[in-house]
């Protein structure tokens, strides 16, 4: 009966792929894609839990006794739309970062910040 946990394992794998992209990639858009994958894995987790063997879509009709659980559907439905709204906010931050740093690579942005900090420190030492 190990196949009974297959969905959960796939969720863990997808979640870890998302997490890996967020940690290991320096490109900010790539990070946001990783975050989307992470987010979708949670959706898949909830929706898999809602499924019942022999069930059908939770729309009441005559002659049907077994429905899937509607509650996770509701939670995830709204989460998807909220997810795109927050992704859009993240993307607009990326656009502004590109405008001020002329780069969306994490390393280059940190390098520029460090350089600026160093020059500011030097200016304080030799007024």
């Amino acid at each position: 009966m190990l196949i009974g946990l297959f969905n959960d394992w796939i969720v863990v794998v997808l979640m870890m792929i998302g997490l890996y992209i967020v940690i290991a990639h320096g490109n900010l858009i790539k990070k946001l894609i990783g975050l989307t994958i992470f987010q979708t894995s949670v959706f898949i987790f909830y929706i898999s839990m809602a499924n019942v063997d022999g069930g059908t879509a939770p729309i009441l009709a005559d002659g049907i006794n077994q429905y899937s659980n509607p509650l996770p559907h509701v939670l995830i439905l709204t989460a998807i739309v909220v997810g795109i709204a927050t992704t859009a906010l993240g993307l607009s931050l990326v656009v502004r970062i590109k405008e001020s740093y002329n780069s969306i690579e994490e390393e280059e942005i940190q390098q520029q910040d460090n350089d600026e900090q160093l020059s500011m420190n030097k200016a304080e030492e030799n007024p």
Binding site: W9, V12, L14, N51, L60, H73, V81, L89, I104
Partner: protein, 339 residues
Amino acid sequence: MIDIVLLTLLVVIAIAIIRMKDLFAAVMLAGIYGLLSASFFVAMDAVDVAFTEAAVGAGISTLLMLVVITMTGSKEKPTRHKPFSALFVVIITGGLLIYGTLDMPYFGSADAPIHNHTSPRYIKDSMQEIGIPNIVTSVLASYRAFDTFGEVVVIFTAGIGVLTLLSVARSKENDDKIEAINDSMHQQHLVIRIISKMLIPFIFLFALYVQFHGDFGPGGGFQAGVIFASAIILYTMLFGLSTARKVINQTFVQIIAALGVLLYGSVGIVSLMNGGNFLDYNVLSSNPITGQHLGILLIEWGVGCTVASVMVVIFFNFAGRRAFQQHKKKLQDKESSAC
């Protein structure tokens, strides 16, 4: 069986996204990923969710990312440091999570704890209490209406955030110049333009159908809002931002976004005034079921208005920022050539 195939495909695509250095390809793969997960949700009987994911994950989010990579460049620079530490963290976390899943109830088992609290009541009593067949809509718009209100406010806030970060003060002169670029571009896409022009009214009609049929089948304000916005976005992509802004005034859209939230909240206030709880629709009419129908209709309308207008505002601002950057670059080029 089909769900196992779909899940495996999802993993394959996710791994392909890791390896892809070209951001354009990564974004397109993310779109396919969204579409596949929507198919998976259909296989899991979650039709409402699948509907939303197909419109959002495969449609709008891909579009927004494409607009952004036209501004930021589509090549990812290879990282210099080795990703071993990240791999280590990920494998440890994943291993612990897999260990955690061993206690989970098996997939599809009807006696799992999740199926034995709260939801049996929704399935058994929602027809008597709310009187509409789609349980997801009953729960979303009536039992958990306060929760949904919070989510609508989050979407509205995100819209304000994008507006704050990206909005550009427009002058008439800029608009004319942008228009000139657009016109030349559009002669190349004549077929697409004419076909889309014929399609757009039907997309609007479909959005309205989804909006008002949400009580009886899959659909509702969230899905309808996204579909409605996608028609406007399609128009904007093909006819240029300045033309679209002439057709649909952005200030007007912003006001609609606020009005949607206001409508939702007002329904709650009215039910308070009538002696019920916040968002308790039973008191809206002499017959509780009619009250429920009225309340759900109104708040779904509010959700639809807010979602559609926020999506349009977000897209307009991304596209507007891009036009602004191009305009600024042109001015700089002119200055440098004059020197």
